[in-house]
């Protein structure tokens, strides 16, 4: 882990609220993070916390309101034409729902050929190449000329993963790649992703609400709450000793598949529900649900402070300001 492959600086993504002139959803608000070569950065948070928006914005599927996205040191936000195409080749995504992420009117071969053609990859025999690639994600060549509806959910997700890696990108954003699949299939896909990462030296941004899965997959984890990163650092440490009260609450909410442990452990039953991102609370956004709220939390936003080398928390309990 030397230089960051991707660096996000003060990223803001605001959406206009339909039917209102002024109200804005602050989906991502002042987020900065680094992703290092070869690692997996997990992003966890509840629905509406902006994790998917963040992932899509990194790949320029959303237009950032302000901020920088540096990919290998180059700001990609304003890229156009050839340069943009070059970035597209290097950064790809796998979506949550394999049933809707493949065009139902195109055969698997057509779907997979599209990136090769668009990026003018010269090959002697496309068919042979595709068959080899299909095998690398555990799909037989007989699926090549089929339609997506003829494949199972797990197989479709394999195709979606293959489409993402077929141009040998450096970065892949995985947006809840297993949450639409059954548990038994989930394990297959997770293992496949880990194999591919090893073989192709890929860097992952793994977005999920399922903390067990994120923990299994990631080196570092970022916890998001209402458009902000509240804690980011080594996954093992974060899991063993979360610092931010929200991370504590989140972790203790996960049901543990071990009856004796899950019944004996100390639990913090979360209070309240996340407020609307249109009108986030002032100060620390978590303060209305936080058991340790102090006066300063209600007025001033806590900065993301480094408590240990490479480990950051945004909470007044750990900041001195």
């Amino acid at each position: 882990m030397s230089s960051p492959l991707l660096e996000v600086l003060d990223l803001k993504v605001y959406f206009r609220v339909r039917g209102s002139l002024f109200a804005k959803v602050k989906a991502v608000d002042n987020v900065s993070l680094k992703v290092f070569k070869g690692e997996t950065l997990g992003i966890v948070g509840e629905s509406g916390c902006g994790k998917t928006t963040l992932g899509k914005t990194i790949l320029l599927l959303n237009k950032p309101t302000s901020g920088k996205i540096l990919f290998e040191g180059l700001d990609v936000v304003k890229l156009k034409g050839r340069k943009l195409l070059e970035f597209r080749r290097n950064a790809q995504m796998v979506f949550q729902d394999p049933h809707t992420s493949l065009n139902p009117r195109m055969t698997i071969a057509e779907t997979l050929l599209e990136p090769l053609r668009e990026h003018k990859v010269q090959l002697n025999d496309y068919e042979e190449y595709l068959i080899k690639e299909m095998e690398s994600v555990g799909l037989g060549s007989e699926h090549l000329y089929r339609y997506p509806h003829e494949l199972s959910g797990g197989q479709k997700q394999r195709v979606a993963i293959l489409r993402a890696i077929i141009l040998r990108p450096k970065l892949i954003v995985l947006d809840e790649p297993t949450s639409a699949l059954d548990v038994s299939v989930q394990a297959q896909i997770l293992e496949l992703l880990r194999d591919l990462q090893r073989n192709h030296n890929l860097t992952y941004v793994f977005i999920s609400h399922d903390i067990s899965v994120v923990k299994y997959m990631s080196n570092r984890i970022a916890v998001m709450y209402l458009g902000k990163i509240v804690e980011i650092g080594n996954s093992q440490k974060l899991y063993e000793k979360p610092l931010h009260p929200y991370s504590v609450m989140l972790l203790s909410s996960i049901p543990i598949p071990d009856p004796l442990v899950s019944r004996s452990r100390k639990k913090v039953i979360p209070q309240g529900e996340p407020p609307s991102p249109i009108n986030p609370p002032p100060g620390c956004r978590f303060h209305p649900r936080c058991p340790y709220t102090m006066d300063i939390c209600k007025t001033k936003e806590p900065p993301l402070t480094e408590v240990e080398p490479g480990y950051y928390v945004a909470c007044w309990l750990y900041a001195h300001g």
Binding site: E46, E191, Y216, S252, I269
Partner: protein, 333 residues
């Protein structure tokens, strides 16, 4: 089959069979399954998508719609007045009276379970007035009390809210309040937290646990999440492709799983508290229920499959006290 329930049993299902006569063919959604529920216990029904767990519970009060049909079986249920009836055979009038009154449901998706055109209050009020003769005013007071019970803040205002004015978690609380409005003996919660966030899920599970104890009702919890099962259930039934393959007390199941499917399933879920090098995965796919394989339905994916598994269906046997499994590995020995 004698018309009797053992002590403490609320529900005893025998040989339940449900088929769907679709355009595509006959789907054997549920094939001759048997299970029982005791008073005041939490039973989990676990399985993957399409294994028939939802159909099973809906069949109990005959909520199976066209083109589905209950083909066979019995479901003895002890009513509030201690009368034992077979839910699958009683007249339509009686079953209607049992639904929502003695057996209540909580569906997976609270958004579509509530009629968007009626307020939360109306849902509760009509559920009560359809079963009991009570004054509307009293019911409304009751509704507010119920909303308070499911921890909805400012219930006096919330009764007048329409479903879309509530958040997902609040909607599920409202559904639970509606289902509890007649203090049922048996509550069937069908993946009640699947569409909710983890923190809300934890709240809802806690709520269900507390209410179950308070109302002294039995709870059938349908889920595919083994974490939730470990968290709140007393006993577990594992379903695979329309059949029950294993039945055990929760702790037995987690520490001494017998059926290969259960074993693999448990090893394919990442446990965040443990260091796992590699997740186990179950190869292959769930078989089609239109023409299920003749032998054990798990046979094509099973690492221990032998010839007999392909030919003949294993029957349930009790391997240890209160631990039953349907697998040839144990039948042979």
């Amino acid at each position: 089959m004698a018309e009797s329930l053992q002590d403490g049993q609320v529900l005893k299902v025998r040989d339940l069979e449900v088929k769907f006569y679709t355009y595509a063919g006959v789907v054997n959604a549920v094939s001759r399954i048997s299970f029982e529920v005791y008073e005041g216990e939490v039973v989990a029904l676990v399985g993957e998508t399409g294994c028939g767990k939802t159909v099973t519970t809906r069949a109990l009060t005959r909520l199976i719609e066209h083109p589905g049909r209950i083909e066979n079986g019995s479901a003895l249920f002890k009513r509030r007045n201690n009368e034992v009836v077979d839910l699958l055979k009683v007249p339509e009038e009686v079953i209607r009276d049992i639904r929502g009154n003695e057996i209540a449901y909580v569906f997976q998706d609270p958004t579509s379970a509530l009629d968007p055109l009626y307020t939360v209050g109306t849902h509760i009020v009509e559920t009560v007035t359809n079963h009991r003769k009570v004054k509307a005013k009293e019911v409304l007071r009751d509704a507010i009390r119920l909303l308070k019970e499911v921890v909805i803040p400012s219930p006096e205002l919330r009764v007048k809210n329409y479903p879309h004015e509530l958040s997902g978690g609040m909607r599920q609380r409202a559904v639970i309040a509606t289902s509890l409005s007649n203090s049922p003996k048996l509550l069937i919660a069908d993946e009640p937290t699947t569409n909710l966030d983890v923190t809300i899920q934890a709240q809802i599970l806690e709520l269900l646990k507390n209410l179950q104890a308070k109302y002294k009702m039995s709870l059938i919890l349908i889920t595919h999440n083994l974490g939730i099962v470990a968290e709140i259930s007393d006993r577990v039934y594992i379903m695979y492709a329309g059949k029950i393959v294993e039945e055990a007390l929760t702790t037995d199941l987690y520490y001494k799983p017998l059926h290969p499917y259960t074993q693999l399933l448990l090893r394919s879920v990442p446990n965040p508290l443990k260091r796992i090098e590699k997740l186990e995965s179950i190869p292959g796919v769930v078989p089609s229920l239109i023409n299920p394989p003749p032998g054990c339905r798990f046979y094509p994916r099973c690492p221990y499959a032998t010839d007999v598994c392909r030919r003949e269906e294993p029957s349930m046997i009790e391997v240890e006290p209160r631990h039953r499994v349907a697998c040839w590995l144990y039948l042979k020995r």
